[in-house]
Symmetry: C2
Subunit: 281 residues, 2 copies
């Protein structure tokens, strides 16, 4: 893997790396925040994977969230992958739409042509990227959590529920919790997974709770009450209802007046980092 950029930030380092991915068959970038060694030593560090939402690259979170200040204090490493395969030759819809294809990989392994060859973000984030990072960076595989926003909140919860020893702690901002039932999810799953909806359950947080039961984690969700996507695309109450039935520990904070933007995320990012820090021990 090659380091594309590096900047000192809150005494630590905000870097971006790229590598050639076997899963997505293209070059992939990811961000890495490393906390200050003079405070926290050289690791291994407790580590969080951040999954971004629709339209994002690996850059949005690191320029907009303000997470580095708290990660530097708490000694957390944060890894932020891109949201899909990217580059010439990557299949997409014509004309391109913001909610499918490039920058909209939905953290799944596609089964449908022409997407199945490269849209393998599930395997990329749960296997290839963690192995690459473990080989090169001082992460602590036993103290690793996952969080994300919107499509990335969907990714964080589904990946946690299916990989509980890999991602021990889990939180989300405005996650898509029931993609099988909402327009963003139904469009993506139809093209990536086909029209047999039984295959969709493996990538649907609410249905995973119903079929697999609760995880050991206490999941944190923050949701803006003025989020324009709340009623049609996000519907966190569906996940809260499933959590209650499944015995899943969940804190769902509805935040009055907040929308879907990084202004919302930056306001509550500190709470999430402290939540993970406490959960990972």
């Amino acid at each position: 893997m090659d380091r594309v950029s590096s900047s000192k930030c809150f005494g630590g380092e905000q870097a971006v790396y790229k590598h050639s991915s076997a899963e997505t068959k293209c070059d992939m970038r990811f961000s890495v925040f490393t906390p200050p060694a003079d405070i926290h030593g050289k690791g291994p560090y407790s580590t969080l994977f951040w999954l971004s939402g629709l339209t994002c690259t690996e850059e949005n979170f690191i320029i907009k969230s303000g997470a580095q200040r708290i990660a530097a204090e708490l000694g957390l490493m944060i890894i932020g992958p891109d949201t899909s395969p990217r580059g010439e030759g990557v299949p997409d819809l014509e004309p391109k739409t913001y909610d499918f294809g490039v920058a909209a990989g939905f953290y799944l392994d596609a089964t449908e042509a022409p997407f199945r060859s490269q849209y393998r973000m599930y395997s990329y984030v749960t296997a290839e990227l963690p192995a690459l990072i473990a080989a090169h960076l001082p992460t602590d595989a036993h103290r690793t959590g996952i969080f994300g926003h919107s499509m990335g909140g969907h990714g964080a919860i589904t990946l946690h529920l299916k990989n509980q020893t890999m991602f021990r702690s889990c939180s989300a901002f405005a996650p898509i919790v029931a993609p099988s039932l909402v327009p963003w999810g139904r469009k993506a799953f139809t093209h990536y997974l086909g029209t047999d909806e039984s295959s969709w359950a493996e990538y649907d947080s609410t249905r995973l709770l119903e079929t697999r039961g609760a995880s050991k984690a206490h999941i944190l969700i923050d949701q803006g009450a003025s989020d324009p996507y709340l009623a049609e695309q996000l519907r966190p109450q569906l996940f809260a209802d499933a959590a209650r039935k499944a015995g899943q520990k969940l804190t769902l904070n509805m935040r009055e007046g907040y929308d879907h933007s990084f202004y919302f995320i930056s306001t509550f990012i500190e709470d999430h980092l402290r939540w993970h820090r406490a959960a990972l021990g």
Copy 2:
């Protein structure tokens, strides 16, 4: 003026407005952060003007700096204008370069054709915009400061030195302190102000200190020691030398390992906001 966008952020509001400017003869946008009314009342609020650097719009600071967290705590309103006139018909070099013209107004009033008609950022930031804001927003004209980055650091210091009752406090990140002597400044001043360098002194922080003497403020400058522009374009020691001769109170912090990016700014933005808060009383 029309509100283009608004998001709740740290209990306050991050908004962007636009209006038709008489000075620049085009639509101009500017950002406004308003602190939480439930903590700080409805104003008037102590106010800071933020001036951005080359290539920026009114957006860079509000998505990247993390300033809202501290401004919300301290009860500060922050106004962030665009960096130049913008839009169809605005004169520029052909081909366009990043360090002149659109997004590179250098906070001066141009005297040379074809730029003098619209490149009037000095009058815009010191007269038209403050008057507009005073008429519509709960700013406190007696408790207002100014700060900025790079080209905007140049703007902040020059505007403060020439308008000390309007901008009572002043700080900068990696400012261009001697534009008459460095490539960025010489290129801009030649095109905007002409080849008679005596006219440049009015827009050169170091020369203003020499010709007008010190201000009453204690100016704060943070500068990354690993900033790639340090030796050729920024040269803060020239300003420090002039400050010592003029009796200008100045704190110049050289920050080991930091570069020219918003990762640097975000690390030290809290120090600057607390500095202004204390200075404005």
